[in-house]
């Protein structure tokens, strides 16, 4: 049993709903009690969808349990098929139905329908949402393509030449409730098309079962989100010899690397290599003098595996930040995140407990947090600017404007979204210059609203009292006076560092000199 106050991921059947709702001509009969219908609002409210998810909940009640719940399942399947006439039927159960073992998938298969039926077994007590989405997409792909397996030869990624046409790829992984998927797909299709590559199928987002059946018309697969598509890509590789890409095109370097990888896999010469460097404004904006102040900004990163790893690379290599924390809630991607963290000399945080993340954030004392909506809340409490880079989805993560994370435009979006929460360089410089003027109100940070002044307030209001911390270290009058002269946006860090230094050296009282000693030590 695990105490959970808040969870980054829903149960696995919500992952299955994400696949079903992303697609056309599919219906999902879910053996579940009435309360599970809450999941519809994730799609209709958060994604603002104008259609209900294509899901029928069998709605069994306590009084049904003594009787025949299997009959109830069959009745609901029959009604759903008659009403919605799906081309493929998904059948599964949520956590409670898993316990009563009606085996709805097997029941559905015995009902004599001629459409393909996918029996989803998603263990609700050990797995989570992204796994459920991945497994559903995999089972669906497998069911719809398994007849082709024996009859077809391995796909030669170079066959487009013989066929006398442009190379074709599938873009796999984008789904509803995935971070900015809608716009990433447009961006990636645009990039591929510029390189003379056509998109065969995008799935699951917007695909129908017919589209899944023609996945093998493409030469290779683009695995856009490993959390959702890697299992399917692997199966397609094993059974049809379809190669798939490993690079996630988030950030300039990765986008260029991605384009290289696609060209290599298709044996397509890359002719516009120099041009690629100038496709996004990020490299120049990052190089421009105003961005000098970004150098070494301490950034804490937490999110799903795909976005956290990409963010770390961009932060370090493209914006010149210092990554002081990296973590993910995606256990399935823990290995990759650990490897990235190792390269950055930080310890990876793999957890589903947001309070642990908040603690780690506090300890790392970052100047910028890149996280989920939950880290945005935590950062707000700590007075640290934050930009959201990952699911779980919030209505704000489905902006009206075109706002991808991937490709050239994605890099532009990322530059703006990450840098604007920080103060602009010039502004920071001016604040520093004028901080001793009487007009200057300490703690004035318009971009953070009124939430960021906690640390300052504590210091100011406690001025008369001795400030004893846990280790019994005392701030003397001169030490405190010097601390108030430190710009507020680094004051918390200076305070922590000075105390750390005092403990290290066994200094019981912190004076202004201790502060400068510590400053020299940590430099």
């Amino acid at each position: 049993m695990e105490l959970t106050l808040w969870t980054y991921e829903g149960p696995p059947h919500v992952g299955a709903m994400r696949i079903a709702s992303s697609m056309k001509d599919i219906h999902y009969v879910l053996h579940a009690p009435q309360g599970d219908t809450y999941a519809d609002l994730l799609f209709t409210m958060i994604e603002r969808r104008g259609q209900r998810p294509p899901v029928t909940y069998t709605t069994f009640q306590a009084r049904d349990l003594g009787g025949d719940t299997a009959e109830l399942v069959k009745k609901n399947i029959k009604e759903a098929v008659e009403r919605f006439k799906p081309k493929t039927l998904l059948v599964g159960e949520s956590c409670t139905a898993e316990l009563i073992q009606d085996q709805p998938g097997a029941l559905a298969k015995g009902m004599g329908f001629d459409m393909p039926i996918v029996n989803l077994e998603l263990p609700a007590y050990s797995k989570k949402e992204n796994w459920g989405a991945s497994e559903t997409f995999y089972q669906l792909t497998r069911t719809l393509l398994k007849e082709k397996v024996s009859s077809s030869d391995k796909i030669n990624p170079l066959r487009w030449r013989e066929l006398g046409r442009r190379p074709k790829v599938n873009i796999l992984g984008p789904s509803l409730l995935g971070f900015r998927c809608r716009d990433d797909v447009i961006e990636i299709q645009r990039i591929l098309s510029e390189q003379g590559i056509d998109t065969n199928v995008v799935a699951p987002l917007g695909a129908s079962p017919d589209d899944i059946e023609r996945l093998t018309d493409a030469e290779i697969n683009i695995c856009l989100y490993q959390e959702i598509a890697e299992a399917s890509c692997e199966w397609l590789k094993r059974n049809f010899g379809m190669e798939y890409t490993n690079t996630i095109p988030i950030g300039i370097k990765n986008t260029i690397e991605f384009i290289n990888e696609v060209h290599k896999k298709l044996d397509l010469p890359l002719t516009n290599k120099e041009e690629l460097e100038n496709k996004s404004k990020l490299p120049w904006y990052s190089k421009s003098v105003d961005s000098n102040y970004l150098t070494g900004k301490r950034v804490f990163i937490f999110g799903d595996g795909t976005h956290a790893i990409a963010a770390a690379k961009i932060a370090k290599e493209e914006l010149g930040f210092e990554v002081v924390g990296l973590g993910t809630y995606s256990r399935e991607m823990a290995r990759q995140v650990r490897a990235t963290a190792k390269d950055l000399n930080v310890e990876a945080l793999i957890t589903n407990n947001y309070l642990e993340v908040e603690d780690a954030m506090k300890k790392a004392a970052p100047e910028l947090v890149l996280g989920t909506q939950m880290e945005r809340h935590s950062a707000k409490r700590l007075g640290i600017p934050c930009s959201v880079i990952s699911t779980p989805m919030h209505v704000q993560d489905v902006p009206a404007r075109y706002s991808p994370q991937m490709g050239w435009e994605g890099a532009n979006v990322i530059f703006d979204d990450w840098v604007h929460p920080l103060m602009m360089g010039l502004e920071e410089h001016l604040i520093d210059m004028f901080k001793h003027d009487f007009e200057f109100v300490d703690g004035h940070q318009s971009h953070l609203g009124h939430t960021a002044t906690n640390t300052n307030k504590n210091l100011n209001s406690d001025e008369k009292k001795e400030k004893n911390n846990k280790e019994g270290i005392i701030w003397t009058e001169s030490g405190r006076a010097e601390l108030t002269k430190v710009p507020f946006f680094v004051r918390g860090k200076v305070k922590t560092n000075t105390e750390k230094y005092a403990i290290l050296r066994g200094i019981p009282e912190i004076s202004d000199e201790t502060l400068y000693d510590a400053k020299a030590y940590f430099n």
Partner: protein, 418 residues
């Protein structure tokens, strides 16, 4: 009883389960913690229904059952013990801990009553443990509050003092208004259940006169009756009419003259009628379809028809206690169609066929109906907004007039641009 048409329907539903009521119960009693014993689905449900209300550490959580808990029940009890110990160590300010049963805990027959009993012994004098079920196989939405309140009744001490007991969660400001009005009427001993602090449970007995503020408390009412309380029969205090009759019923139970009631509330009524007028202008003659969710539907239908002159197409309710609702049903217009239960697909067919001006429904259905050109109002807003009492009648009407008004604004062409 007016000639109301009663129907029952079964089938797939689109409603919240009783766990959702934790969202307002934990705010009502800030010294209590609600620990759901359930699955990741339960945890995800509550956080999704609570929406933006993410706090540093909420006063609700889920002990998520894992595969190893399902293997043997003894383990599950021990595991729950461990989780509770951790929780209390972390949150020593908690005075009452509700162990809330869920669909999976009910199906595996996890005996939360025994667990609570043991924990009560261990934490005697520090934390009280209460258990109830908010499972979706037994409860819908607001019925969760019914379960929580029912579970507290055995802890209420007895007293023969005469008092008025308001039963059902109210917004604090509304509660204060009600108490002031009752004091003006001459009723001085007034208490609320649930109280604002979980440890300050009212004492009850044969001179306790229970006045319900919410229509979804069937089990609580029955148990209060068993404890000797007198239940005042009245419509619910939604709108001017309902609230007036509600005050009158209470006054009658305390032998206060009708004249006195009218004297006190007439200025309120006049004021409220004025405020209501602008909303009535929008709502008048508009056709309303209420889908089942909160059990407030019948009272809302009565208010929206009698005071706002809307036409009622269908009034859905997840559950109907005809006895508890008889005063309300009597006030409904003839031929009102009440449907208990739901077959969501068939009901939506009827919605589309009847072409309503406004549909009251859950959040899962609102945007899809809007996309079809049908204006909607989310039912969950009724349980989070202060809507009770005469002073709030216009605000209540406003919840329904706003979507229509907005629709009018967005479809009108008053500005000519060149």
């Amino acid at each position: 009883m007016s000639k109301v048409e009663f129907n029952k329907e079964t089938g797939p539903r689109e409603v919240f389960c009783g766990l959702t009521s934790i969202v307002w119960l934990h705010r009502r009693m800030p010294d209590a913690f609600f620990l759901v014993v359930g699955s990741r689905t339960c945890a995800h449900l509550i956080q999704s229904a609570a929406g933006v209300m993410i706090f540093a550490e909420p006063r609700f959580g889920t002990a998520i059952l894992e595969e190893k808990d399902l293997a043997g029940l003894a383990d599950a009890h021990e595991e729950l013990d461990r989780v509770v110990n951790d929780l209390i160590a972390r949150r020593p300010e908690i005075k009452t801990l509700f162990l809330v049963g869920s669909c999976p805990s009910e199906v595996i027959k996890l005996d939360l009553a025994t667990v609570a009993e043991k924990l009560n012994k261990r934490f005697l004098g520090q934390v009280r443990f209460v258990n109830y079920s908010g499972s979706g196989i037994e409860t819908t939405f607001t019925q969760g509050e019914d379960g929580a309140l029912k579970a507290l009744i055995p802890l209420m001490e007895s007293s023969n003092e005469e008092k008025l007991l308001l039963v059902g969660t109210l917004a604090n400001n509304v509660e204060d208004r009600f108490k002031k009005i009752f004091r003006n009427l001459g009723i001085s001993n007034i208490e609320s259940f649930p109280p604002r602090q979980s440890t300050e449970l009212p004492k009850i007995g044969k001179n306790t006169k229970v006045l319900l503020t919410q229509p979804y408390l069937s089990d609580t009412v029955r148990d209060l009756k068993h404890q000797g309380c007198e239940i005042i029969s009245a419509p619910f205090p939604l709108g001017i009419e309902g609230s007036t009759k509600w005050f009158l019923a209470a006054a009658k139970a305390f032998k206060i003259s009708e004249l006195k009631v009218h004297e006190i509330i007439s200025p309120l009524i006049n004021r409220a009628k004025l405020a209501l007028d602008s909303h009535k202008e929008i709502l008048k003659g508009k056709r309303l379809f209420l889908l089942p969710e909160s059990q407030l539907e019948i009272s809302l239908a009565r208010f929206l028809h009698n005071e706002c002159e809307m036409d009622l197409i269908e009034v859905g309710t997840p559950y109907l206690n005809k006895d508890l609702m008889k005063e309300e049903i009597n006030l409904l217009p003839d031929n009102t169609k009440i449907v208990e239960g739901q077959h969501v697909e068939k009901q939506l067919d009827r919605v589309r066929k009847s072409n309503p001006d406004l549909v009251v429904c859950g959040m899962g259905l609102a945007n899809p109906l809007e996309a079809e050109g049908i204006s909607t109002k989310w039912s969950i807003e009724m349980v989070f907004s202060p809507i009770h009492g005469i002073d709030q009648a216009a605000d209540l009407a406003g919840l329904f007039s706003k979507p229509l008004k907005r629709n009018q604004i967005l479809t009108s062409k008053t500005l000519v641009t060149h």
